[in-house]
């Protein structure tokens, strides 16, 4: 057994020494002058990419360069919803690739990331919603992805606090349920990948900011950081919230705008909400964390901002919708609100793959729903970096699709952020 492996027995053993002998989850390293691969951005996607490069492709001379602390961007600010019930086959393949990795991730990483497949239920409030959700169910099932239709009574049975009064302003006409969907502990995902990558030799460099991508002609050379130049022939940029800024230093213009996306939690209460519920119509989604807070999110603010803040009116409207669906939560209290920065593409699908600069790869534009894709995104991006060509699942998500017009528009069905 490797030293420092996590288990109940290890906890007991370490209890005897007052837990003073646990090794660091990931080590502090001095940056080398060059690596085979540099990943810019130590969020969940970047760390997962580094882990899979080392674990599955034998590429271990890898550095993850993070300007702040790992998992400090959207990884640590999202509402942790995980699902794969998208509309288009390309998207279903991409997100389900991730969803298939979630259940065994705790074992693989030797870190409990608390994936909880408690089910994600999306509500229909009018016939149009019903038609769209059923179209999703048909499309999902054809690709072997679970999703089923629930009557209002079945929806209520699955989520007892739900108000299914037909006289409601937005009555519940039914719901689409993906039982394999759920939530996970967001911070733990970053930490788990970092720890597992570190053990395979990946350097995790926190507190080092990439100032620019260095290129010569159409070939990438490395990154300029506040600690000097780090050379690499392959660079993966995975900096949700700053994609335009970082890739702008390489002269690239992107079909991305960065918006604040807000979320909030209630004060912690005993278990009252067993699943995840989303409503596109009223712009709200909600679940309950293992600590007991209701975790609630909505759509983005309307203007580009890097401030990690948004307007209270967005939260207010979000809560109006929540109380419409769950009137019993009216007296519960807002404990904390916050915001992340989401990079939104015109078709609400991510951009993954090569750029016009050789050796420079991008993984960006996950919009409001990137967390769910973390393992899949890392897995496929690692493959892409290792083979220097897009993995077939991510091939349709290249930057070139905007010029050809071959968009993968999920916005028709995803009016709400999640």
């Amino acid at each position: 057994m490797r030293r420092g492996r996590y288990s109940f027995a290890a906890l007991v053993r370490h209890a005897l020494s007052g837990h003073r002998r646990w090794p660091p989850a990931w080590r502090r390293r001095e940056p080398k002058r060059a690596y085979d691969v540099v990943i810019v951005g130590g969020g969940g996607h970047g760390l997962a990419t580094a882990y899979y490069l080392a674990a599955e492709h034998g590429v271990r001379d890898v550095a993850v360069v993070e300007k702040g602390w790992i998992g400090g961007g959207n990884t640590g600010r999202n509402t942790t919803i995980i699902r794969s019930n998208y509309l288009h086959p390309e998207s279903i393949a991409l997100y389900d690739h991730a969803l298939r990795l979630w259940p065994t991730l705790s074992l693989e990483l030797d870190f409990n990331i608390m994936f909880s497949d408690r089910g994600v239920m999306m509500l229909a409030h009018d016939l149009h919603d019903e038609r769209i959700l059923k179209r999703h169910i048909h499309a999902n099932r054809l690709l072997g992805v679970d999703n089923r239709w629930l009557s209002p009574a079945e929806a209520k049975a699955f989520c007892p606090p739900l108000n299914i009064d037909p006289r409601a302003r937005y009555p519940v006409l039914g719901a689409a349920l993906q039982e394999r969907g759920g939530v996970a502990r967001h911070d733990a995902v970053a930490w788990g990948y970092a720890r597992a990558a570190d053990r395979l030799g990946v350097h995790i460099l926190e507190g080092i900011e990439v100032k620019a991508i260095r290129r010569r002609g159409d070939r990438v050379l490395g990154v300029e950081t506040d600690r000097g130049v780090i050379a690499a022939g392959r660079i993966g940029v995975v900096v949700a919230g700053h994609s335009s800024v970082v890739l702008g230093t390489a002269g690239l213009r992107l079909p991305i705008e960065s918006f604040p996306l807000q979320a909030l939690v209630s004060e912690p209460v005993k278990p009252v909400f067993p699943c995840v519920v989303m409503s596109n119509r009223v712009h709200a989604y909600i679940s309950q964390s293992d600590k007991g807070e209701l975790v609630i999110g909505a759509g983005t603010d309307q203007y580009v901002s890097y401030s990690q803040r948004g307007g209270i009116q967005v939260i207010r409207h979000n809560l109006e919708a929540i109380l419409e669906l769950f009137p019993i939560f009216a007296r519960l209290r807002l404990m904390r609100q916050w915001a992340g920065i989401v990079d939104v593409t015109p078709d609400r699908s991510p951009i993954i793959g090569p750029t016009p600069i050789r050796g420079l790869y991008v993984n960006a534009g996950w919009g409001t729903g990137g967390f769910k894709a973390t393992p899949g995104s890392g897995h496929l991006f690692a493959w892409t970096l290792a083979h220097e060509e897009p993995h077939p699942i991510v091939a349709p998500f290249g930057l070139d699709r905007f010029e050809s017009g071959r968009l993968i528009d999920e916005s028709a069905a995803a009016a709400v952020a999640h």
């Binding site: 213009r253 705008e257 309307q302 580009v304 901002s305 890097y306 803040r309 905007f402 017009g405």
Partner: protein
Amino acid sequence: MLEIPCPFCGPRPEVEFRCGGEADIRRPADPDRCSDRAWTDYLWNRTNPKGVHRERWWHVHGCRRWFVVSRHTVSDTILAVSDSGQTAQPQETAADG
């Protein structure tokens, strides 16, 4: 919630407005002579700066006029506002942030 200095109505709360995104995006004058790349650059690519952003706002629940605001995207401080649409020459005046 931001306070948007509408050049026609004065400062008003953000809920009265819609943000129309980046200003100064030129629709190619002759679409037929424009390459696919140039056309889709117009359609999709955005500057998305971390810094001063010239952006269009629409006073939808007010005078329904479009105008251009310069706002810093980190502090969200509003630096200037011009009272015309994107094609006119902006007359920038200082505005209180």
